[in-house]
Symmetry: C14
Subunit: 76 residues, 14 copies
């Protein structure tokens, strides 16, 4: 077993953990966004903007982590 | 046991963890979407649009992670 | 123990974890769907459509992960 | 210990994890179904249909995972 | 230690995990059933039917998993 | 250490996990049963019948799992 | 280290896990019983009967599991 | 390291886990007992009797498990 | 490493787990006791008696477990 | 690595786990004490007495466990 | 296996854990931000500013941790 | 690897676990203290006294545990 | 594998755990800050000041821990 | 691998765990502080003082633990 083996192990599990974080985070904020829309349809555009800003922050960090994972997965 | 063995291990478990994240996230936001629809049927179209945008963000990251996993699963 | 052994290990556990995610996700959104139906029987068709779209997103990712698992389970 | 040993290990634990997911998911949505029936007995048929559709989605994925497990359990 | 050893390990733990899932699931839906009966004694028959359908779905998958476990436990 | 050793390990832990499931499940539904009795003493007999049906479903699966465990515990 | 060693390990941990299940289950249903008694002192006898039936179901399964554990603990 | 070593390991951890179960269970039911007393001081004696019956059921099973642990701890 | 080593390991961890159980249990019931006192200062003595009975049950089992741990810690 | 090594390992982790239990327990009951004081400032002295009795029970068991840990930490 | 192997392992898993923290944190605060916007659309700008300050604090620490991870992932 | 190695391992992890306990405990009770102050500013001094007594109990046990950890960390 | 390997392992995982703590903590307090702003826009400046003081306390400890991690990551 | 290796491992993970505790604790109490400020802006100074006292208690213990970690991280 060479050193690369653990890089492969870490790539898959790290990607899985990152999606747990991203899923819980975006799921929670989008749930709140739809809740707020349902309560105040008039503020719908304003809420959707806020939602996309916050989701982008999580998405950005997630993609950064996934890039770390893909770096590890394609080591040879 | 060659280095590939741990890649296989990580592919399956990583895919499983990613689905936990995606399931919890999309489940939570879709639950909120249906809750909001039930409370304000008039805003139904608006809510469904928001739901699909947010679900797409999670789905995208999940598929990215699953691609990392499938890369690991088909190593030879 | 050859490299395939860990592929087998990962296939079963990954499938189990994926079902945990799918079960929690679809369970949560279907619960919300029935809750909303019980509160607004008139919007029943609209809610069921939203439910099926969201469930399909989770189901799709789950089947993708299960295909990764079955790929690992039938390695020889 | 041959490679098959880990297939056996994964078959049992994977089946157990899959039932945790299925149990939590179907339990949650059926609980919501009965709650909604108790609140609106008139919509009982409509709710039961929705419940069976959603439970079938979870049941289907669960059986798929159990088939992966049984494939692993009967390896020789 | 032969390969069968891990089959034995997996049989017992898998059975235990499956009962956790079944117990939580049936416990939750039966709790909701009794809650609904207590609120609407008139709909009692209707609710009990729904409860038995849903519990049967969980029970069926659980027994399937237990059969996988017993297959593993009686290997020689 | 022969193969039987892991059968013993799995028997005890599996039995413990099964009781966790059974305890949580029966505890939850019996709690709901008593709650409903306290709210509607008139429906007491009806609720107790439902409780015993549901508890029997969990108890049956639990005993099935315990039989798997005892099979493993008395291997020689 | 002979095979018996793992039987001893499993006896103690299994007994501990079984008590977690029994404690949570009986604790939850007895809490509900006392809650219901406090709300309807008139139904006190009826509730205590239901409580003892349900607690007996959990206690029985727990003792069954503890017997499995004691079988493992006194192996020689 | 002889076989007895794992018996010692299991004695301490099993005792700890058993106390977690007993503590959570008795803590929960006693909390409910005091809650009910605070709401209905007149039913105080009746509630305390119910509390002691239920606590005895948990205490009994816990002591049974602790005896299993002490059997393991004093092996030589 | 002799057999005693695992007895030492188990003594410390078992004591820690036992305190988690005792702390959660006594903490929960004492919280309820003070809550009830705050709501009904007149029943203060009655509630404190009930609290001490229940706390003694947990304390007793905890000390029993700690004695098991100290037996393990002073082995030579 | 001599037998003492595991005693050291267990001393630190056991002390940490004991503080988790003590912190959660005393934190919960003191929170309830302050809640009750805030609601009934007149009963302040009575509540503080009850709080100190209960906290002493947890503190005592915790110190007992910490003594077990320090016994293990100073072995030579 | 050289020392670098564990650096690779830690890079992927650490990135995954960091995203769990970032996702939960930003998800929670953005959910509160949208909730508050829905309740007081007039304070929308003020709330969004507060949200971005707090999210930046989490994002900053997350990126710091991801840089630690990428440092580990590109070691040779 | 000498025996001291595990003492170092246990020092760091034990200190971390102790802070989890202390943080959760003091956090919970201080939260309740501020909640009560916000509801009854007049009882502010009385509440702060109670808070400091309870926090001191947790702080004391925590420092005791940290001293155990530092004893382990400075072994040579 | 030299001693440095474990330093690398600990750097990544420690950084990840620290971000979980920081994310949950800052997320919770910023959520409360926005909640309070939404309820009392007039106190907005006062609340934001309190939020930044508390967030700084967490941020400071987090950066301290990250510095420990980076010290470990750049060992050679 | 020398003894120092485990000191490094413990330094990073211990620091991470300590931040989890500190983050949860300070996050919870600061959230309560802001909640109380939002409800009673007049008591703002009084609440902030209480918050800083309690946060200092957690911060102090956290820094103590981090010092233990840094002691371990700089061993040579």
């Amino acid at each position: 077993m060479t050193s690369i083996a653990l890089a492969f192990l870490s790539a898959g599990i790290g990607a899985g953990l990152a999606i747990i974080g991203a899923g819980l985070g975006i799921g929670k904020l989008a749930a709140a966004a739809m809740d707020a829309t349902g309560r105040q349809p008039a503020a719908s555009g304003d809420i959707r903007t806020t939602m996309i800003i916050a989701a982008a922050l999580i998405e950005g960090a997630t993609l950064f982590a996934l890039v770390v994972c893909i770096l590890l997965a394609i080591k040879t």
